[in-house]
Symmetry: C2
Subunit: 250 residues, 2 copies
């Protein structure tokens, strides 16, 4: 049976990939890679470093044109769903055109805020291509964040809320006091919360696992400007910035 493999490759450091994932990298016939307009040279370089480090011999990349996404939709959920369907059709065509086992290189872990599983699910359900698929877990950026700051993500016996910058205000309003924030897009969400009034601590990091990695931690009220600067430095150094943080109330 033909296989499609969704391979978690970690957040950027070539050694933060599992032995299982390395084996999968070596087993597939080609990788399907989105030719995203917003892809940066540095991200392509990191991915190539990862392949060069871990793949014996050559590897083959098939680029797929990623459909346009409405970045400012009226209905956010519907826009994302439409985009997934368009992507499914586009990726399905690649599978139809290219026989053999295909691999998806998924940043972090396919289980967190990533669309690869949903796309492959949709292709599978459409039934135009017959294949089996598996998922190989990877280290997500917030795990690298926790490791670098040497923190446990939960307080003893307590829950952890993992959410997005978009949903942060909602989480704080609901009384959560230990929050992992992914898909961050600037510090507006943080600034607008006026968390400085409470005794909130932040553990922040950007471009984790890469040469442009930056870390900041401290009381939110004390370090917001430092984070803003560090974010700019990371972006200037790498050409892109992806940050994640833990917010904790004492």
């Amino acid at each position: 049976m033909r296989r499609v493999r969704l391979i978690g490759i970690g957040s950027g450091h070539p050694d933060q990939i599992t032995v299982e994932a390395v084996r999968a990298l070596n087993e597939v016939d080609y990788f399907i890679v989105a030719d995203k307009a917003n892809g940066t040279d540095d991200l392509v370089r990191i991915r190539e470093d990862m392949c060069r480090t871990h793949i014996e011999g050559e590897w083959r990349i098939v680029e797929v044109r990623d459909p346009e996404r409405d970045r400012d939709p009226v209905d956010y959920d519907q826009a994302v769903a439409d985009w997934h369907e368009a992507r499914a059709a586009s990726y399905e065509q690649v599978l139809l055109d290219h026989p053999g086992d295909a691999g998806f290189l998924v940043w972090g872990d396919p289980a967190f805020y990533d669309s690869a599983i949903r796309i492959v699910d949709r292709i599978h359900a459409r039934g135009n291509v017959i294949f089996d698929y598996d998922v190989i877990p990877g280290i997500s950026s917030f795990q690298v964040l926790a490791a670098r700051h040497r923190i446990v993500l939960n307080e003893i016996g307590q829950p952890i809320l993992v959410t997005t910058g978009r949903k942060l205000a909602e989480a704080v309003a609901a009384g959560h006091t230990n929050i992992v924030v992914m898909l961050n897009a600037g510090l507006d969400a943080l600034r607008s919360l006026s968390l400085s009034k409470g005794d909130w601590t932040i553990y922040w990091g950007a471009n984790l696992g890469t040469a442009a990695e930056v870390l900041v931690s401290g009381k939110v009220s004390d370090v917001l400007d430092e984070i803003e600067d560090a974010r700019s430095v990371a972006k200037a150094r790498a050409g892109w910035v992806m940050d994640v943080y833990v917010l904790r109330h004492r």
Copy 2:
């Protein structure tokens, strides 16, 4: 500078460990391993398999007597804190008695519901042993769960609550509809919730990554008994059972 390394080794499969962790396994002079009364032969065997697979040559284990823990305390948080302090003293003695770089083999990821970071933090703060320490992230059991069930842990753009069996009822009462439950201890928490009344789906797994791995998914009301049976099978096969699940309301 002498180093202590907290190495996430994944949930049981010898290949679900990162290349970074494999390197660390090979760099330390010895591993500190708790001589826990509740350790089972099978868990010791899995850990040994992992070392045998990934370490070049010999490795050295220093056993440490783990202090007794009050399993039925009046004040849960205080009991855990007391236990951590007693462990710190016990582990500190090992570092004093054995020079060189020490490694902790941490199941899953040190960032989730694990005490190793807190113990090493305490030893560091006590100041009786001078060392630097680092944390190497690992694949946590709930990531293996998501991979095996081929699910994304978040619904599109939505948060994920990670909590414990002990805190499950609280999470449901607070309106959470997408919950990862770790440190599960039987199905009592699930049964007592009468989730069957709502349209809840469960993705459950035990002994993930090991030979005794079992998976069940479906509507909670339909599969609770199947899970109970699968749990017994895993326990009978391995001599121990560790399960984790995702609960999701549609």
